[in-house]
Amino acid sequence: MAHATETTGTEPTRRDFLFLTTAAVGVVGAGSLLLPLVGQLAPDAQVVAAGAPIDLDLAPIAEGQAIKLFWRGKLIFVRNRTKKEIDEALAVNIATLRDPQTDQQRTKAGHEKYLVVYGSCTHLGCVPLGSSPGEPKGEFDGWFCPCHGSHYDSSGRIRKGPAPLNLPVPPYAFTADTKIKIG
């Protein structure tokens, strides 16, 4: 404390610079702490690895039937559509649709009879009915969500009810005539 008196001149400027630098470095340090604290919330390596693409054989699915499977913990419907269902899907005037998409956009060329969609209603995430025999398929031969009454057509498009969007199509590709790789 002996030479405690402040000298005038450049001193205040230098002091301000020091204070500002220290504060800035402190803010950077506190900010970088957020990286691990928030980063840990992201899916971990095991979850990511378990989300690798999966192979599926479509041959066992008879015409008019649908199966359910999981990929990345999400439910997926795979339906082998009847001629009638395909025709209905193609006949729709897409201008009348809430989420306009053609049936071709939602299937793979040459494999139109297979429809692959996520089994989660776009309203609030319930599982729509219509995949198992005996379940209501809604007014458009597709799916019907019992939670809030959304009707999807045989192309998985929203036709009636509160849901805003069509059932999304997961990424997939045909690896053989009746084999697909999802993911």
């Binding site: 030479h3 402040e6 950077v28 340090g29 390596a45 690895a49 690798a52």
Partner: protein
């Protein structure tokens, strides 16, 4: 004088502790300390030697894995940064050579399918009892974290120095010593029973695992000159497989040490700035009436 007697008590105490500190060294003379190995992953800048980890994996796969599992390690880890860094293709191909039990399928039955990178290394035995039954009662332990689960006593005062020298390869040194420590029992050692082997570094010198590595047992990849990348000797095998075990036990070691350097440098800078800031602030003390 009072103070003298305190000093005397103090001296007595220190002497007592010194005796206590020295005696374990005397007591433990039976088991030699593992020799220090120079590891690429030691010290603040340590990193794994990719080629060494790949050789170590080969030894694990061809020798150890027939008895020892590594159930916490996945095939995918072999391709991750900071490890052996095989290519993703190599790992996928390797995984596919394993049959992994999966299921149940639609019929409710378990089935086997080719491995995927996300699968963990399959264990050689379905459970510990099966492992014991197949190994004369001894359990070949899982190797996933073994390099961290094994150690040897450093003793006073070495364990204090270790804080500053960052010596922490007690486990790897011990494992390397153990793998190279198979010897004929010395004169006068009780005759070995079936299933017992003499090892210089095992506590009690008796180990159930027979000598696992022999010179020339595992073929190493050839370098450009047509010679093996590293000597095909027990010593080199031991070093390589131990390094691989260290990576299995601490797969993020490189990332940790790298981040450590950044954090230490940052903190040192910040501490320096704070020191001068603190000095500045305190230097204005007598005048601070107006400030506050």
């Amino acid at each position: 004088m009072k103070t003298t007697s305190f000093r005397r008590a103090l001296t007595g105490l220190v002497t007592g502790l010194a005796i206590a500190a020295v005696s374990p060294v005397l007591a433990a003379e039976g088991a030699p300390k593992p020799p220090r190995v120079s590891w690429s992953f030691s010290g603040p800048f340590g990193t794994f030697d990719r080629a060494q980890l790949q050789r170590g994996f080969k030894i694990y796969k061809e020798v150890c894995a027939s008895c020892h599992g590594a159930s916490l390690v996945s095939f995918r880890n072999l391709a991750e940064p900071g490890g052996p860094e095989f290519s993703r293709g190599q790992v996928a191909a390797l995984a596919a050579t394993y049959q992994i039990k999966d299921g149940p399928n639609e019929a409710g039955e378990m089935f086997e399918r080719p491995g995927r990178p996300a699968d963990r290394f399959p264990s050689p035995f379905p459970n510990e009892l099966a492992a014991r039954a197949a190994n004369g009662g001894a359990y070949p332990v899982d190797m996933s974290v073994l390099a961290k689960a094994r150690t040897y006593e450093r003793g006073f005062p070495w364990f204090i120095f270790d804080i500053f020298t960052q010596y922490q390869e007690n486990g790897p040194d011990y494992i390397h010593a153990l793998l190279t420590g198979y010897k004929d029992p010395p004169q006068g050692f009780p005759a070995l029973l079936p299933g017992q082997n003499y090892n210089e570094y095992m506590s009690g010198h008796l180990i159930a695992m027979p000598k696992p590595l022999n010179d020339g047992q595992v073929e190493y990849p050839k370098g450009a000159d047509g010679k093996a990348q590293a000597p095909e000797t027990v010593d080199q095998y031991s070093k390589d497989v131990t390094a691989f075990m260290m990576w299995m036990a601490e797969p993020h070691l490189e990332a940790r040490k790298r981040m450590g350097l950044q954090v230490m440098l940052f903190l040192a800078l910040f501490a320096g700035l704070l020191y001068f800031t603190k000095k500045k602030i305190w230097s204005r003390l007598p005048d601070h009436a107006s400030v506050h």
